[in-house]
Amino acid sequence: MGEILTNAPAEPAGAVTYATADGLLASVWLLVAIPLVSAAVLLLLGRRADRWGHWLGVSAIGVSFVLGLVSFFQLRGLENKSVELSLWDFITVGDLRVDFGLLFDPLSALFVLLITGVGFLIHLYAVEYMSHDGGRRRFFGYFNLFVAAMLLLVLGNNYVMLYVGWEGVGLASYLLISFWQDRPSAATAGKKAFLMNRVGDAGLAIAIFIMFATLGTTQYDEVFSNVGALTGGTVLVLGLLLLLGATGKSGQFPLQAWLPDAMEGPTPVSALIHAATMVTAGVYLIARSNPVFSANTTLQLVVVSVGALTLLMGCIIGAAKDDIKRVLAWSTVSQIGYMFLGVGLGGGAYALAIIHLLAHGFFKANMFLGAGSVMHGMKDQVDIRRFGGLAKHMRTTWLTFMMGWLAIIGIPPLSGYFSKEPIIAAAFGRDDWTAWLFGGAALLGAGLTAFYMTRLFVLTFHGPKRWTEEIEHPHESPKLMTVPLILLALGSIGAGFLLSTSVPDWLTATAGLGGEHAEHETVLPHIVITTLSLLVTVLGVGLAWFLFRNGTATAPQPAGVLVTAARRNLYTDAFNEAVFEKPGIFLTRALVFLDNRGVDGLVNGLAAAVGGGSGRLRRLQTGFVRSYATSILTGALLVVAAFLAVQAGWLA
């Protein structure tokens, strides 16, 4: 089975059947319900829940995690590791039957553990991080709402359920990005995120329409079982629309611009939603829809191209940013690019992408929370030009961040080495010359990642102090923040190896996913690829260390064409503004003018002509209604007379 699945084009999936959930697994709905109820309590009780609300929020996720773990082990013992649970008929009209149902299978089980596990640690951290904020209860309400929606997204057993969760996480993301809504920049960033996501959502919605129009269903099993019957063109369009949805949610080209702005939200939000979980929903969508994507090689090529392009874009822009959270955000864009590359390659690389996704969840959450810890100690400073020498003052943050840094750049034996390097190798495993193109891009990305992450790390924790004046003695964060950091750092160290040895086998039970992590034919021997990727990593680290070991200027310096372009997000924002925003505003204004003068005037004139004299519009009240009634009646009689005339044949 492994051999067949490891290389594109894969065989179309055969019939997919899900077992019915029973016993303990019949209560997987609680995974979603618990955080949802908690969110409702927190948001509806208002200030009455201020004192204890955050602990309710944390424990809801904790309970969900435990339930997720138990369900996970329950699933291991089953023959058919895909069980579904129909809760009720959601939409039943004509031939359209949408089940309000859940699917618990190896893929969704992994996501459940990631979302609730990492989610729990980040919730815990947020108790302390948000302790000085008056809106902490509201924050936990939104945070719980997010977890519930995200779990629904990965647990749905059909595309409509996925869509419900999909827009639900979009809502939570909006609420949390614009959490400090009295800041205009936060409100704008939230709106931008929601709008760009809706563009992707529209694509996803149309994809669902196509499924119903062609296959008559939106249930996963029925869609996947019958994908083979679709024509190549339909599969291509369907896949491209799903991909559009995925790029919106995951901040991939061309819908990447919202993700860095999303850093306006509180840092735990950036860690959980905009790094570890929500932004990986696009990867989930493609992995889940693998029977669709595996059925068309052009489609896979597009996914791979999006991944490769975005991963390089993210690296280049990330290297030019000075805001610690924005560097990490662009890094997220870039790392998800790797995951898209993986899912696009198909076959065994699906599993590689999922492994990288999980590993990334740990180390990126770790670094975001580390960044939060730094900001906590530095009075919310985010400019890495104003950090430096923090290693001595924030020991735990420094050490844990170091683990994240080593993990993301792929130093063995930390997790990135086991998760990213195989994707690079898989890219070199394509059949034709594109192996060089995509393999090369992935390799170059590894070098750039090493460069910008080292720049971030060195400028923050090492070199001379460049602090602003009001900071005298940066303090380490309290236990409630450092304990999650330590646990996530442990994850950053060990997760990669553990996952890479267990996940591929585990995922084989998911329709078409996984397969053995087989050694496929690559254009270069695998050992050469490994050596090369380590080499570019060391080069990137060395260069960054050489350039930034003595700190940097506290203000941005004039720069060449490439750096300027990178600072301006490679002019993608300028493009959006010139092509969509400005014309959109102009169009809106023009239409408002037109509607008030043109359409209204025209129809008013017409109506007045029929009713008799526009002067009457101003001659109000007295006798008005009666006079109109009379003219209406007269008019009607005329029309009727004409009509009778036609009927009687006088005019025929």
């Binding site: 009209v93 809504q181 062609t214 239409l591 129809v603 029929v610």
Partner: protein
């Protein structure tokens, strides 16, 4: 139980209530309010009983009653309700008590009589129920026209800025539509064998040319009422000038008479003409979706903005009606219900904001969420329902309309889907300019802006929010009622749903 004359009693009851309220002394405004509210609750209770008595698997039309009116012309007081009418009646019964409660102090700012205001609301309820319950074309026409009178006075006497201009414009537009309809009604009477009975008329064969003219007569009236582009310009003026409660009824229910009329009269009575005109109607609906959404983005007046969003929503309903599939049709009817709840809520909440601020201009707000967080939260929720976020009821209807339309007409469905992006734009931008961002210093000086929702307002909002959420996750009770009626309408025009274009191997066993 089903022998009880539900429909005539439901129609007359609010009218009796209105007389009682109107006769109360002007000095006792509170008594008038309480009586009006209590009366509307009675109507609600009766409607709930009727809902329970309605048999989902039963006849298409139930609760039929008929009393002679003008025997010479074949005019009868005939009432009957199918599933479509039933859900609309229920919507009216739910909305009116909430609107009365929400309008508690609205009439006090005007110099006119407070009891009369509430009496007018009850008269409006009577005519609205009548128009949906009528099964005689002439009776329908009478209610259709009489309905304008209470609304005319509600806008013209109790409205805000430019109320008289708006009221006259509203009346004028509707009457012009009524002219076309009256002509068509009489024409129908002539070709239909001198009867106004809907059931008899639906059996009549009409020649192609005549059928098209008659269709057009009805359609223009309904398109103005709904309103569809380009007959929409009266709505922003009327919605902007009407008191918030009346505006909620105006767009929540009154306008639905247009789309209801198309479903009840244009499609079953003139099936061939409906099919012939469908491409044009779809085009108007699509223009409405995109055009009105863009206009909504550009508005600086909260009530006008909500009015424009409604025009866009009516575009979706139009797409659903003229796609001629069961999903789209059911979606359209469900949309009428959900839109009544969501936009009704939105109008009421906007009204609460405006009452506090003393201005409807968005630029007069800014950062209001800091002062009235709960009110801002409800505004946001109503906005989410308006943009059809999953988990709120409008999502289900919008999804059904689009997926149903897609199976028969892909370009139309795709263009309409673009409307969901614009919906997000007008809602979020409105929310941002009103409640988020830097606090407008002028707001802090206004007493009202420091008072968040009071108990009365919470009681108004809670049922609507609850209904929107429950129907968002479990729409089945409503779709089950709508489904057979829509199916029957599809049979009338002779359309069936297309089968999935690809033959599938595994059929959905056991689901």
């Amino acid at each position: 139980m089903s022998n009880f004359p539900f429909l005539s009693v439901l129609t007359v009851a609010p009218l009796v209530g209105a007389l009682v309220v109107a006769l109360l002394p002007r000095r006792r405004p509170d008594l008038a309010k309480q009586v009006a509210f209590g009366w509307s609750l009675l109507v609600l209770v009766l409607s709930v009983v009727m809902w329970i008595a309605f048999q989902v698997d039963g006849d298409r039309f139930q609760f039929r009653e008929s009393y002679p009116w003008i025997p010479n012309w074949g005019v009868h007081f005939t009432f009957a309700a199918d599933g479509i009418a039933l859900v609309m009646l229920m919507l009216i019964a739910v909305l009116v008590p909430l609107v009365i409660l929400a309008s508690w102090h609205d009439a006090e700012s005007s110099k006119r009589s407070v009891p009369v205001y509430f009496a007018l609301l009850l008269v409006l309820e009577c005519t609205m129920i009548g128009v949906f319950a009528a099964a005689d074309v002439f009776l329908f026409y009478v209610f259709f026209e009489v309905m304008l009178v209470p609304m005319y006075f509600l806008i013209g006497s109790y409205g805000g800025h430019q109320r008289q201009y708006a009221a006259v414009k509203f009346f004028l537009y509707s009457l012009v539509g009524g002219l076309f309809m009256l002509a068509a009604v009489i024409g129908l009477w002539v070709v239909g064998g001198k009867t106004f009975d809907w059931q008899a008329l639906s059996q009549v064969d009409i020649s192609t040319g005549t059928e098209r003219w008659l269709f057009l007569g009805f359609f223009v009236a309904f398109a103005i009422k709904a309103p569809f582009f380009p007959f929409h310009t009266w709505l922003p003026d009327a919605g902007g000038a009407a008191p918030a409660g009346a505006a909620a009824l105006l767009v929540g229910v009154l306008d639905k008479v247009g789309t209801f009329g198309i479903l009840r009269y244009c499609l079953p009575l003139f099936p061939d003409a409906a099919k012939w005109f469908a491409p044009w109607a779809l085009a108007l609906a699509l223009i409405g979706i995109i055009y009105a959404a863009l206009l909504a983005v550009g508005q600086n007046d909260l009530k006008r903005l909500v009015s424009y969003t409604s025009i866009a929503h009516f575009g979706f309903i139009g797409v659903g009606i003229f796609a001629f599939t069961t999903q789209a049709g059911t979606g359209a009817v469900l949309y009428m219900v959900n839109h009544g709840l969501a936009t009704g809520l939105l109008f009421l909440v906007v009204g609460m904001l405006i009452a506090r601020r003393g201005s409807a201009l968005i630029s007069d707000f800014g950062g209001a969420g800091k002062l009235v967080p709960v009110l801002a939260g409800v505004l946001f929720f109503a906005g989410l329902a308006s943009l059809a976020l999953p988990g709120t009821a409008p999502f289900v209807s919008e999804f059904l309309v689009l997926i149903g339309a897609f199976t028969v007409n892909k370009p139309v469905a795709v263009i309409a889907t673009l409307g969901i992006i614009l919906a997000a734009a007008y809602v979020l931008w409105m929310v941002q300019r009103t409640t988020q961002g830097t606090l407008n210093p002028a707001l802090t000086e206004i007493d009202g802006m420091r008072r968040d929702l009071n108990l009365r307002e919470k009681v108004v909002i809670a049922p609507l929010v609850a209904l929107i959420v429950v129907l968002g996750f479990y729409p089945k009770p409503v779709t089950d009622v709508i489904n057979p009626a829509v199916q029957a309408t599809m049979d009338d025009i002779g359309r069936t749903d297309p089968a999935p274009s690809v033959v599938t191997t595994v059929q959905e066993a056991g689901r």
